[in-house]
């Protein structure tokens, strides 16, 4: 027997344990929400995902209501949409700095701005008080704590607890006094925060922002996204490299990465500046009179080849040794072992795994 219910007049199926929000998203994808993150337990804070449920006096939050057989659900009646518009006006009024946010702030940072456009909500009707105050005193160069933009969706607090298991941030007070904070209201570096940046990437308003990426707001060019894998440990987290023209401007987690499912750590999230660091080697070097000096590719290749030739001819094929990298891609390690084996006829090749 299949589980089915009626959604906006259509009979649709659902899986045991699915919420109305999840069912609706599979079929229409139109229900708005600000506090929902796929990886977190449904929270029902923002109330934007409310739907009409036959037999229920008031609209119910679709994210916290489990689908049941023969429910009759309406997701976009005029009353519901009016309700959502009012809610959006309330939320936007909390955001005196405006909802237009640079996308470099974080992966979900455009969610509020998009919904504000969809519901044509400005905050003027409820202008006045706001909750959350920015923390420009926090000097860490990674996580910008711009809580003037905070709408108290609690996504940051929940991702820190549920996804990371770190419980570094929490909520102080209620109502207009709500403030996302750490224990004793201190700096992130003095808390249990590991700077994984998950709070930044789930924030729907850009209140928590990627401080490394934000340096590139004025870098000209459109943001391009390139799917790749983190260059640090062996977990192999999937990332998106953000670039503008030829400049890397940020890294964001790939939510469907098989190894990480959207998680990253401080190194993968914020540790990418080295790629275009001025210290990078930009041309070949050869040693002349005891000193390494710039050389052309032609000269350097000839010097390198000549040295190997000489050692092989003087000391034999086993006098040459190759060490491959555990950080470079397969094509590097494969070419290294082949270069040594084919070129010199020796198995004197290893990689850096023994030390």
């Amino acid at each position: 027997m299949k589980n089915t219910l009626t959604l906006d007049g259509q009979r649709v199926d659902f899986e045991e344990g699915e919420s109305l929000y999840q069912v609706a998203r599979r079929h229409t994808q139109a229900i708005p929400t600000l506090c929902y993150d796929d990886r977190l337990e449904a929270f029902g804070a923002c109330r934007l995902c409310v739907v009409e449920l036959e037999g229920s006096r008031n609209p119910v939050a679709s994210c916290t209501t489990l689908a049941q057989t023969d429910m009759v659900v309406k997701t976009k009646t005029e009353a519901i949409e009016r309700h959502r518009k009012t809610l959006m006006e309330l939320v936007v009024s909390e955001n005196p700095k405006g909802v237009a946010i640079d996308p470099l702030r974080g992966k979900a940072s455009q969610e509020l701005a998009h919904l504000a456009v969809r519901y044509q909500a400005d905050g003027s009707r409820f202008a006045g008080k706001q909750s959350g105050h920015s923390r420009p005193d926090d000097p860490n160069p990674m996580i910008v704590r711009d809580y003037d933009h905070c709408i108290s969706c609690y996504r940051c607090v929940r991702v820190c607890a549920e996804q990371e298991g770190d419980y570094a941030i929490s909520i102080a007070n209620r109502g207009f006094h709500t403030q996302i904070t750490t224990e004793f209201d201190g700096l992130l570096e003095n808390s249990a925060c590991t700077f994984c940046g998950q709070c930044v990437q789930t924030c729907p308003t850009g209140a928590l922002a990627d401080g490394r990426a934000l340096r590139h707001v004025d870098t000209p060019g459109e943001i391009e996204r390139t799917r790749s894998v983190c260059p640090y440990c062996g977990v192999g987290c999937s990332v998106e490299i953000l670039s503008k023209n030829e400049t890397i401007v940020g890294v964001q987690p790939a939510m469907d990465g098989p190894a990480n499912e959207g998680a990253l750590c401080v190194k993968g999230q914020f540790g990418w500046d080295w790629v275009q660091h001025p210290d990078r080697l930009k041309n070949p070097l050869v040693r002349k009179d005891g000193v390494l000096v710039d050389a052309s590719w032609d000269e350097a290749l000839e010097r390198a080849a000549e040295g190997f030739r000489k050692v092989r001819d003087t000391h034999g094929r086993h006098a040459i040794y190759g060490v491959a990298s555990g950080r470079a891609p397969h094509e590097s390690a494969y070419s290294m072992q082949k270069f040594i084996r084919v070129g010199f006829g020796t198995n004197n090749i290893d990689n850096c795994s023994r030390a």
């Binding site: 160069p141 040295g307 060490v323």
Partner: protein, 530 residues
């Protein structure tokens, strides 16, 4: 890893030994924390009070290098308590009677004397693991970087085999590989004993295969390991090609390494920065970095995934495969006709039985775990299901032996080394990233507060730490993360080169350095200034 990362959310008992996972593999650790939220129990064995120990149900703070004693005692208790999975042992293993006899003497009381872990805690851990429906073992270099690294791994295998915790979902023996593509480097055959796909170089069938594939005569003997090669520099080794490794800072016994590389007639280094190692070279080639090259990484769960170029390489930098191809052509080496990374990877797939079913396009989404023996094969997320590579799982009977170097009156403190969350290896990357450098700007030797007092040191003051091989000056941090008598440093900072001290011994089978144990003396810095 025998099991995929996704399985980390599935065990009911997790045994982490020699892995500071929240710092070295943080995202993997988040999955263990999820298992714990669903009720899984955690056993942590580590000399230091690492963050995982904070959330563990049983903590086994063993003395550095005493793992065989601890694990043998756990096996002893599992046998004594009747927690052996008799049907698994009967059907899938051999040699259990020898193990049963062997561990009879490994009583928890005996092990307490060696490891310093209370016998009662060893009992608790063993019973917890022995009773697990799904028991999973995770380890890192804390197990392997010892003179008895192989014995340590075999002791863990014994635990998994005797409890039937292998070849099933949510179980397994799971080494967490340390670098992004260290698994891949081995897969690709950058090993002195194996061709790509772990095909032994001494097997005539493999020799024939590669002779025909590459069109050259191949070496019939194994090569030597890098550790031996460094010993041989200036004697039988006279030229080296080092790609993307900062040997001078990352390897044990820095003075020995530097001397070795300086003894060469010819040193060529391919790297993205002028590292301490590249600075010794005769020729340095600028490599295109991550973010600038297309290629494949294989992660710790044997999953090949594509990396992609987002920007052009800096300056004249080029991908490693391109550099090696150009060099090979200069030297008239045959079989280097590559035009792209794809060409190289597809050649690897054609020659490797573990990658035969893959190609450049198939790894685009990273859906497979190797081995993928033929096209259309779904991959192998869990190893050892139904059978082991050799048929039956073999119990081994390792005995405890002391580390290569033990503390004495002259060098009375144990030093163990590892990573910190914010830094990676020798900091060539994280030292040039503002955020990570902000969090940990300098090396600190982590010492128990009582030892700080006992040694006449000051928290935040400078100390001279010396071993039989060298000395460093390092800032002191008083912390209960270190137990009394054992101190910790990373090897990340080349200005505080901790590997000037290490290098006391090597595992006789793998040549892996005992980087986790070294005897040192620590004195206030002023003592040496007089």
């Amino acid at each position: 890893m025998s099991n995929p990362l996704a399985d980390m959310e599935k065990p009911d008992v997790i045994f982490c030994i020699g892995t500071n996972m929240t710092e070295a593999h943080p995202v993997a650790a988040t999955r263990l924390k999820k298992a714990m939220r669903h009720g899984a129990k955690l056993i942590v064995a580590d000399p230091r009070h690492i963050p995982l120990a904070e959330i563990a149900d049983v903590v086994l703070p063993l003395r550095v290098g005493s793992d065989v004693a601890l694990l043998g005692a756990m096996a002893h208790v599992i046998v004594r308590e009747g927690l052996v999975d008799e049907s698994f042992v009967a059907e899938r293993t051999e040699g259990f009677e020898a193990l049963r006899a062997h561990v009879a003497e490994f009583t928890p009381t005996w092990a307490e004397g060696i490891t310093g872990v209370p016998a009662a805690d060893i009992e608790r851990a063993a019973i917890l693991f022995g009773q697990a429906e799904r028991g999973a073992i995770y380890y890192t270099l804390g197990i392997t970087e010892h003179i008895c690294g192989v014995d340590n791994v075999q002791s863990l295998c014994n635990l998994a085999l005797m409890t039937g915790n292998i070849g099933r979902e949510g179980t397994g023996i799971n080494p967490m590989r340390g670098q992004n593509n260290i698994q891949g480097a081995g897969d690709c055959g950058a090993l002195p004993n194996n061709y790509p796909g772990f095909q032994p170089v001494t097997d005539p069938a493999n020799q024939k295969k590669f002779r025909e594939a590459w069109g050259v005569e191949v070496d019939l003997e194994k090569g030597i390991t890098k550790v031996r090669a460094l010993d041989e520099c200036g004697s039988s080794i006279h030229a080296m090609l080092i790609c993307g490794e900062n040997t001078v800072v990352s390897d044990p016994d820095r003075a020995h390494c530097e001397h070795a590389l300086k003894s060469l007639e010819h040193l060529v280094v391919i790297d993205v920065f002028l590292t301490d190692t590249a600075a010794l070279a005769d020729v340095v080639f600028p490599a295109a970095a991550w973010g600038e090259v297309d290629g494949v990484f294989t992660n710790t769960e044997r999953r090949p995934q594509r990396v992609r170029a987002a920007v052009e390489p800096q300056g004249q930098a080029q991908p490693d495969w391109w550099i090696l191809t150009q060099l090979a052509r200069r030297l008239d080496f045959p079989s280097f006709e590559y035009e792209s990374a794809k060409d190289v990877f597809n050649e690897l797939c054609a020659l490797s039985p573990t990658y035969n079913g893959l190609d450049w396009d198939l790894v685009a989404e990273g859906r497979h775990h190797w081995p993928v023996p033929e096209k259309g094969h779904p991959g192998t997320p869990i190893l050892h299901m139904g059978t082991f590579l050799r048929g039956k799982g073999l119990f081994k009977t390792p005995s405890y032996r002391d580390p290569a170097e033990v503390i004495d009156d002259e060098y009375p403190v144990w030093l163990t080394t590892g990573r910190r969350l914010a830094h990676y290896h020798t900091r060539t990357m994280t030292g040039r990233a503002v955020g990570t450098q902000y969090l940990v700007p300098e090396e600190l030797v982590e010492i128990h507060p009582h030892d700080v007092t006992k040694l006449g040191l000051e928290d935040g003051g400078l100390a001279v730490m010396s071993s039989r091989r060298g000395e460093v000056v390092v800032k002191v941090q008083a912390t209960t993360k270190s137990p009394r008598g054992t101190v910790f440093c990373s090897f990340s900072f080349s200005d505080v080169p901790i590997n000037a001290l290490t290098g006391s011994g090597y595992d006789p089978e793998t040549d892996t350095a005992e980087l986790k144990v070294c005897a040192v003396r620590i004195e206030p810095a002023r003592a040496t200034l007089v």
